[in-house]
Amino acid sequence: MEKFGLFLGCNIPFKAPDIEQSFRQVFPVLGVEPVDIEGATCCPAWGTAPSFDLTSWCAISGRNIALAEEKGMDLMTGCNSCFGVLSEAKHFLEDKERRAGANKLLEKVGREYKGTSDIYHVTHVLHRTIGTDRIRESVKFNLEGMRFATQAGCHQLWPSDVYKVSEENPFFPTMLNELVEATGASAPHYSRAEACCGMGGMRSTDVEKSLKIFKDKLLSIKEETDPDAVVTTCSSCFLQFDQAQKMLRDKGEIDFEIPVLYYTQLLALAMGFDPSQVAAVSTTDRAAVIAEIQNPARQAN
């Protein structure tokens, strides 16, 4: 079984641990063993060290990567921010002086960044290592007739030159759509497919601006695809779609709601895992879409 160091980040283990549970249940069945990286920290998030000091950022990200290097593994993370931050840190650590500076800091804690481990997103492992055929064979419920709007998220797409795997056209991403289609469901394109959801620095700096961007995107999804759910592979996008819809409803700006699932939650449900473990924590109600996914009539045999 192929092994990947599982880099959890913060959002997933603390705010949406049902996503973590979906990783732990889905991957081994698909032939990938997620291995814990003991003592890992925050990637560190864009608003922390990267906003203050480049070398300390590289040392902190470098330490997280070094923990995987010590196990001889590549890292896999389900958080787009972690994927972006760790990949960008690797890009800065290619600079010899920067690397020397970061390693000088790391010496104080007995670690060294060598640059031998690569950073992958959960999407990449599912799409490239496992493949859509294997996913198609593993689902117990066929989701034919269901429709999902996909949200890949910024930090999985740009800048494509620092990522180990990238989309053929990052302004027209297709990997997540193909993963959704492997469950039998459809994943139609919509005009704002690559638009930003407004989470991140924007949300913490100015909620109104963030909601404005989010609403544009949400209306495009609703009007053009009217999906059973939004499916994402970014934990920040997940939290924004899940929570900001309520904010817009409370303000009287929208009169509908669309449930939200992280992709491995959709997959775990389609594989027959227990919703109370793999899809249990949300603001926007997901009961109806979960029941439809695990509708006994969808079971092949």
């Binding site: 913060c10 959002n11 480049l54 800048p159 601006k209």
Partner: protein, 170 residues
Amino acid sequence: MSLKLKKENIDEAVRTIMELGGKGILNCVQCGACSAVCPGVKAGFPVLCRLLIKKLTTGQLEEIIEEPSSWGCQACNRCTEVCPQGVRPQEVVFAFRRYQANEMAISTSTTTSQMNFYETGHAVYTESSKELRKQVGLPEAPPTTVSDAQGLKEIQTLLENSPMGELGFF
């Protein structure tokens, strides 16, 4: 005289940004491709990408120190992807943010994250996560620094020995 001052200002602004990580700033030809795809600009944070670079390359580093736009940057790198000149505008935005942060012109939103980061090793952390984790069948704490005293010590040492240690967050 004023022209000379201006040149000094420009040199200093550009040097500062380059030292803080915005190495490509001088390659900018002000084409505006970056701003056209920037969600921050779209949301109404105007001083990002092209305009930020314009202000910096005309020596206005200090004049815009309180400008909140940089803190609304999503670090999404759409700008970096489309820039025909290899400027990597996101790196310039973050270099400017570092300059602001070091002058304590920071967004209040970062303070809690910094403190969480030092105390737990995570920028985002809540005590209520223990219950949530148990509810979905996971151990109370993930195998990260929240359950690894040695790992937490390491991250605190790194933070204490970084310039962030001098800013008084922890």
